[in-house]
Symmetry: C2
């Protein structure tokens, strides 16, 4: 079939359609299609394409295209300040919804703010400060309609641990507080930089599986730490691993205060029950949303009334009235604690970012709108940088409060403004009321909030669906529990990356057969009706061919051949002549892979077998062309589909 010999004209680099099949006029044969190179691009064009896929894959500026200057300016304002998108159409109906939801999340945010600040070893009022400034800034910059902004549990916990490793909050409270603000500043800077540099994809490397384990581990640690407040222990360990915490609980059992324990367990029972009610009956979510605030009020009254009879019940104590004081003068940019602050900032920044982005995406998907991850990062980062200058610590979008926000009918970021205003009123007028609020109620609120992070159902699903994902989950769980939060995270990322590498290192290979009556070639094991084609072995490789797997693939292919020959010998099949590799799933090849293919071709030739490639992808074709391998493969070794390869080769012989 002479017309077929020049189907791939690699000697004509100036044209991308390498050559055209001229079907022979005399012989009636099925039409075969040539394998094309992708359109030619310069190195610069390729680099630009790669970079734009890496950083601008969602084409964030597509709205700018083909617009007048005025529209471009309007669009730029919309782009930078999403408030301009919704504010012009804002009306009373929306406002009514937002007021209801804003007040609801405020009732949750005030007790949680105080509690989470305690978790970070910070004065309770910092939690309220942090529920005031950042939500206002997010309302202007953020693109999520449902995110409820404020302190979050994981980031609070991590900040508390990491800073306390360097500075004792009880011995050096001022330094500790300054470091917390500094860490917050760097967290914001890191978050905003990730967004500006469009490196948002780094947070994708913390897979859901590892997060399930990480969250559960952190929740266990946090809950156990709350035994301090719940049991009324005064001298508690500041360590975060499970063993020191538990042994501290046991060792300090002479400090256990029975008043505290009875009160704590009662309120815990109440809050867990209302939480269950809220989860079971979504219509009654308001019960669980308001229960924490009611518990705070009730417990405060109880303590205030019976204060003489409850001497061992520790309370929050005097809190000063007033708005956030400025704190930009308290930021450290030098000195020996700078490294600690930066490290803490990066880790808490990353964690709070992940929570915020995940929450934003979840509700966006639920309500069918889009959130631009990188833009959200800039918004969250700027709000933290501003927060660090106004006595706030790291904030983000809280999952639980955002869910309440959505449930309560929140429609825009205005609900954050309403919440902030409620916090403002609290800060200005209601602070003295917290004087008798017992610490135990804060512990109870924290436990109720974090217990939802132990997602054993997801863990079970991971076990069922993907054992390696489950392993990643377990690693991060135990890493957090027994070593530390950063180690737990590092282990989790390591396991996830290892999983990817394992998949590339040991890819699947399949022997394919033809499904009778079709041109479909499928796995012989999976499709029992598929049949071997005499004289052919058809192999499917399911991975890019890289340095990490080229040796494996070569040996595996040779083993397939050996096994095929054994099969043929046992079944009196016809002698093997052609090895077709279905390259559809070989999405890339590197120089090691190219060397392997050439070597394999020679080895097969020594065994009087010809290697034929079917449907090489664009990038593989390009590499074959650039490395001059196309020439050594020859024109009879390249077909567009496995079916055409079989037909084409049969025509030749």
């Amino acid at each position: 079939m002479p017309s077929n010999t020049n189907r791939v004209g690699h000697d004509q680099p100036e044209t991308t359609i390498v050559s055209i099949l001229v079907p022979p006029a005399t012989i009636e044969s099925p039409e075969l299609h040539d394998v094309r190179l992708p359109p030619e691009k310069t190195t610069f064009q390729k680099l630009r394409h790669k970079l734009s896929e890496l950083f601008f894959h969602d084409d964030p500026l597509h709205g700018f295209k083909n617009q007048t200057l005025v529209k471009k300016i309007v669009f730029a304002l919309h782009f930078m300040f999403p408030i301009f998108q919704w504010a012009p159409n804002y009306d009373l109906t929306l406002f009514r919804s937002d007021v209801v939801s804003g007040l609801t999340i405020a009732s949750l945010a005030i007790p949680q703010g105080i509690s989470y600040a305690k978790l970070a070893n910070l004065p309770p009022v910092i939690g309220l400060y942090s529920s005031f400034v950042p939500p206002l800034i997010y309302a202007v910059l953020g693109s999520s309609k449902h995110l409820a902004v404020g302190p979050v549990s994981i980031a609070s916990l991590v900040m508390g641990t990491m800073l306390n490793d360097a500075v004792s909050y009880s011995l050096q409270p001022v330094l500790y507080l300054n470091l917390a603000f500094t860490a917050t500043f760097f967290a914001g800077l890191f978050q905003a930089s990730l967004g500006l540099l469009r490196l948002g994809f780094v947070i994708d490397f913390l897979s859901k599986a590892t997060l399930v384990g990480f969250m559960a581990g952190a929740a266990v640690i946090v809950s156990l730490q709350q035994l301090k407040g719940l049991l009324g222990i005064v001298n508690f360990t500041s360590k975060m691993q499970i063993i020191p915490v538990l042994s501290s609980v046991i060792e300090q059992r002479d400090q256990w205060s029975w008043h505290t324990i009875v009160m704590g367990i009662s309120f815990l029972a109440i809050l867990l029950t209302t939480r269950q009610i809220g989860m079971r009956r979504p219509k009654l979510f308001l019960v669980s949303a308001i229960a924490p605030l009611l518990s705070v009020i009730l417990s405060t009254f109880l303590v205030a009334i019976f204060i003489t009879k409850l001497p061992n019940v520790a309370t929050i104590g005097q809190l000063d009235k007033g708005l956030n004081p400025p704190s930009s003068n308290r930021l450290y940019f030098h000195g020996k604690f700078l490294v600690v602050a930066i490290k803490t900032g990066v880790v808490t920044g990353l964690l709070s970012l992940m929570e915020g982005i995940a929450v934003g995406r979840t509700f966006a998907a639920l309500k069918n709108y889009q959130v631009d991850g990188n833009k959200e990062m800039i918004a969250i980062g700027l709000m933290n940088m501003a927060g660090s200058c106004s006595s706030c610590y790291v904030t983000s979008g809280s999952f639980s409060r955002s869910a309440v926000n959505e449930n309560a009918g929140g429609k825009t970021a205005m609900s954050n403004v309403i919440m902030a205003l409620t916090v403002l009123v609290t800060l200005l007028f209601l602070m003295p009321l917290f004087r008798c609020t017992p610490n135990l109620i804060l512990a109870v609120i924290i436990i109720t909030a974090v217990i939802g992070l132990i997602d054993y159902q997801s863990a079970f699903r991971l076990w069922k669906v993907d054992k390696l994902d489950f392993l990643a989950c377990l690693s991060s769980f135990f890493g957090v529990l027994f070593v530390s939060v950063p180690v737990g995270l590092a282990v989790a990322v390591g396991v996830s990356v290892f999983k990817i590498l394992l998949h590339v290192t040991r890819p699947h290979t399949r022997v394919l057969g033809k499904i009778p009556g079709t041109e479909i070639f499928q796995d012989l094991v999976r499709y029992r009706e598929a049949q071997r084609v005499p004289s052919f072995v058809i192999l499917g490789i399911e991975a890019p061919i890289y340095f990490a797997n080229s040796t494996y693939l070569q040996e595996r292919i040779l083993r397939w051949l050996r096994e095929e020959k054994d099969w043929i010998a046992a079944n009196n099949g016809s002698i093997l002549k052609y090895v077709i590799i279905d390259m559809t799933a070989v999405t890339a090849i590197d120089t090691s892979g190219l060397a392997m293919m050439n070597e394999l071709r020679k080895m097969l030739e020594n065994q009087s077998l010809q290697l034929v490639l079917a449907n090489p992808t664009g990038s593989v074709m390009e590499k074959l062309h650039q490395s001059n391998s196309l020439e050594s493969f020859g024109s009879k070794a390249l077909y567009l589909t496995v079916g055409e390869a079989v037909v084409g080769i049969k025509l030749i012989i």
Copy 2:
């Protein structure tokens, strides 16, 4: 088309063929094929399969299958001691070839052995010891027919650097030597363990691209270090980075000895010329093979004759006659230098292993026989462990000497035995002859040997074919040159792994169209004749769907849809109704990927679009089934090929 609604019966887990298509009797329609789950396996079976693919992919024991006990024993002997494979058929013809090649490589091994020992800061005689014991052991255990065993340049260099960082070889020569033997022991232990545990694939992670850079960097460093011998400098830096080496050369210019320089440059010119001749005319390879030995003899004579006139030319000096003394009592297994010895052992073990395995594989492929990487590792490891007990340092298969071996007609490992015997004669009788051998000739031999490691042609090919591979190559080159060997290696592995991750993080997606007159669907950009199918968008994803890319893929797919809609609006196309994803190249999916697919399905439903999957691979089907996603996708959303999906959907509407 009611017959089509139950093509995938995920509610029948006991059968792997999920359901059978019953073509409707009344309507004449093309036959559609059901998508199958892979045969069901228990978790244990899956684990066993995965482990066997990971560790025994080449089925090393396939010869044992279906054999009698006697044959099994014979096979086991053959398996463990490859010498039993070739020794029974050994004859005089083979022996004659092996004697010639053995003598030839001995003539190269003796000067190189002395030179490489100098490179590792060891007494020259250690290089000869190391060319005696290890080759004998390899001849029994090794499966390569062409590997010429002995000291190699890179491992010598690395050992010299790493040990010298801990102990000065001039101040504490005994300790230094003991550490060298200990490091050799651990190198062998590490190599043999890798082989025994079948972890040989770890060496694949040093890709060819990074090795090109690494070797070139090391060669430059080694060559520059030889300026010490070539210029006759006495007090030379012991550092390995390019800057201290060059500044040491300049600073010590008052020590430059002009006799040495003239002699050195003359011999360098001779050796480089003969090397060129050997490379240009393979028939004259003997010239380049024997030139080093002749140079040693000639230079020794020159120095011996003119010794009074050449006072500044440093010589090797007195070498003791005699065989390898035992050194097992000199191994350290405790103390503060143990860590250094282990670290040096692991790094040099890994590097020498890589060279040995690569050389073995290259010549096996050339001569069409198989080398089992893991078995080779055990052989090389055992030979180094034995070597460490008989005053040898790290050895491996040398590329240059193996090439000479093959060129000189070496047929079996017997050529290593002949070489070892020649070294034996040298050790016993010829040692005094080296007394007047000038150090400069060793420097010249080293430079000539390592200059071949600078493979600029490969580097240029990398640049042409794969820019990222070239980047990996450059990183390891500069890492070695400016920082250190381990850092260079680490950077190289890091860049290579980053490349894999980048490919997974940002996979290609394509819009496919139908090539007229066929059932082939191909990239619209690459195949201009391919046509869009009205009402459909057909997308091909070219990667497994993982946590690392699920967000990207979702956003990218939504962008494709947006662009498709723009195209339709501009071209008055028919309204979009179906999104078909060609899953052929989606070789795996994890839980994040599954969550993304479900979310995408819901988002598309909100836009009145239906998501259809074509040709999901076995493992993806399995995951979809286990996570109960098949049910939510529905039976009309799964087809065996894109073509059948289009036909099937058109039948429904």
